[in-house]
Each structure stands twice: as C-alpha cells, then as structure tokens.
C-alpha cells in the first residue's frame, strides 16, 4: 500500500494508511527524498498512528529515512506511535535513536515550526 504524501506549507506529511510491506517502506523513503528536493520542504512528518506493529525493519527504515532527510536539510518527526507498539519495540530491544518523535500530527508540526523559528540550521537529532 502506497503512503500518500501531502504538501502542507513548507512541510510534507506522510500518513501511513494501513499495514506496510518492507517494499512499501523503502518506497516511502524514495518518495520522501524525491519530494523534499522537488518542493524544497523544510520538514517531514511521518504519521504511524495506524501501524499495529513496528518491527526491526520498520524501525531501521524510519531511522534511516530521518537521517537521509537530515542530510537533505529537512527535519523529520515521527508521530503517533501507539503505546502497545512502543512497549513491544522496547521489549524487542529497538530504539528510534536519531529520530524525533511526537505524540500526534499537531505536535509534530509544532516541533518543526519551533525549529524553524529558532533558525536552527541543524535539527535536533534525538528527542531522548
């Protein structure tokens, strides 16, 4: 299932709509890299609210997406990780180190706005 990417002001919002295969996740990565360049976006929010599992591959891919986008000058915030999913991730031994997370879309955008206002040239690498 392809992840729709919406352009909102100088940000891109990728809202995951259902279960994703590994190939879907890699495609999301390619699409975001391409669109960040095309629209000169300054930030990306990836909404994972509907994901009921985030295994090692998904976590690793989201982390590399945020690192690659950072090299392209855009901040990334991952929003909507469900409590049960977070619990399973921790038990598995996964950390989203190097990626910024926020509770929901609104907070994710607020985070990007804040970074912009403060004129940060480098986005915070970690929220922990």
């Amino acid at each position: 299932m392809q992840v729709p990417i919406l352009k909102q002001r100088h940000y891109l919002i990728a809202s995951i709509q259902g279960a994703l295969t590994d190939a879907d996740l890699l495609r999301l990565c390619d699409d975001l890299l391409e669109q960040v360049g095309k629209f000169r976006s300054q930030g990306v929010v990836i909404d994972v609210t509907v994901l009921d599992v985030m295994d090692s591959f998904a976590t690793r891919t989201l982390r590399s997406i945020s690192q690659m986008l950072k090299l392209r000058g855009a901040g990334t915030v991952i929003v909507g990780i469900q409590p049960d999913v977070a619990f399973a991730m921790i038990q598995l031994g996964l950390r989203l180190e190097g990626a910024v997370t926020a509770l929901d879309l609104e907070e994710g955008i607020a985070f990007l706005d804040k970074g912009k206002k403060e004129g940060q040239r480098t986005w915070p690498v970690s929220s922990t």
Binding site: A19, L20, T21, D22, A23, D52, V53, M54, D55, S56, F57, R60, Q82, P83, D84, V85, F87, A88, M89, Q91, L92, G93, L94
Partner: protein, 133 residues
Amino acid sequence: MASEQHIAIASDADIVVARQATRALTVELGFSSSDQAGVATAVSEIARNIVEYAQSGEIVIRVALNGGHRGIVVVARDTGPGIDDVEIAMGDGYTTGRGLGLGLPGARRLMDEFDIVSKVGKGTTVTMKKWVR
C-alpha cells in the same frame, strides 16, 4: 476458531499476512492489546528471518491449551542454511546480515516460551508460545 493456520512465507508481503493472521488469533483468544502487539512483532521478526536467510518456509499458528490456560503456539519452519551456533545467534546484536541482531533475542523476550532447533544445511525451526493472562 480454525484449529491451525499454515502461512507460506516467501516474500515481504507474506510477512504482513503472517502478522495479520497472528493478530487476528490473539484478538480471538482475548490477549491484552499489548500482548497482541508483542506476539505480532515476534512473528514479524521470525518470518523476516525466513525470507532473509532461508528464502522460504512456513509459519503455523494454532491455539495452545494447558489445563485451564489458553495461548498461541507459533511454529516457524524452513529448510534453509541453518544456524551454526544457535547460542551465539540468540545473543543481542549478533548478525550475519545487515540487521541489528535483535530478531531472535527480541522474539524470545516478547514470548513466554521460545525454542529453536537448527541444523546447518538442513534448516531451522522456531517454536514460540504466549499464554493469555
């Protein structure tokens, strides 16, 4: 409740199928939502190992009964290359691929019972159980 489901595993799409079938069975069995996520995550890791290291195999899920307790049994089988030293492979951070080496030890932490039998050149079988609390 279907007594046993066999899911052929050969591609990343099959990993999603295995995860969803597992999730459905844990819901039926009345697992807490956090255990539902945990079991589905463990299955995802074990299924991905099949695709990554053995190319193909199968996952069987069924209801486990033990006295008054109910749970889920997951058996993952492949006839791939097998694992040379299972004890080392079960350690956090051990990988021969590009992963984090968390799949096997993580799945063990997420489940109540975990057993792995592997023979080089013959294949690998992982059996895991989780009981409804």
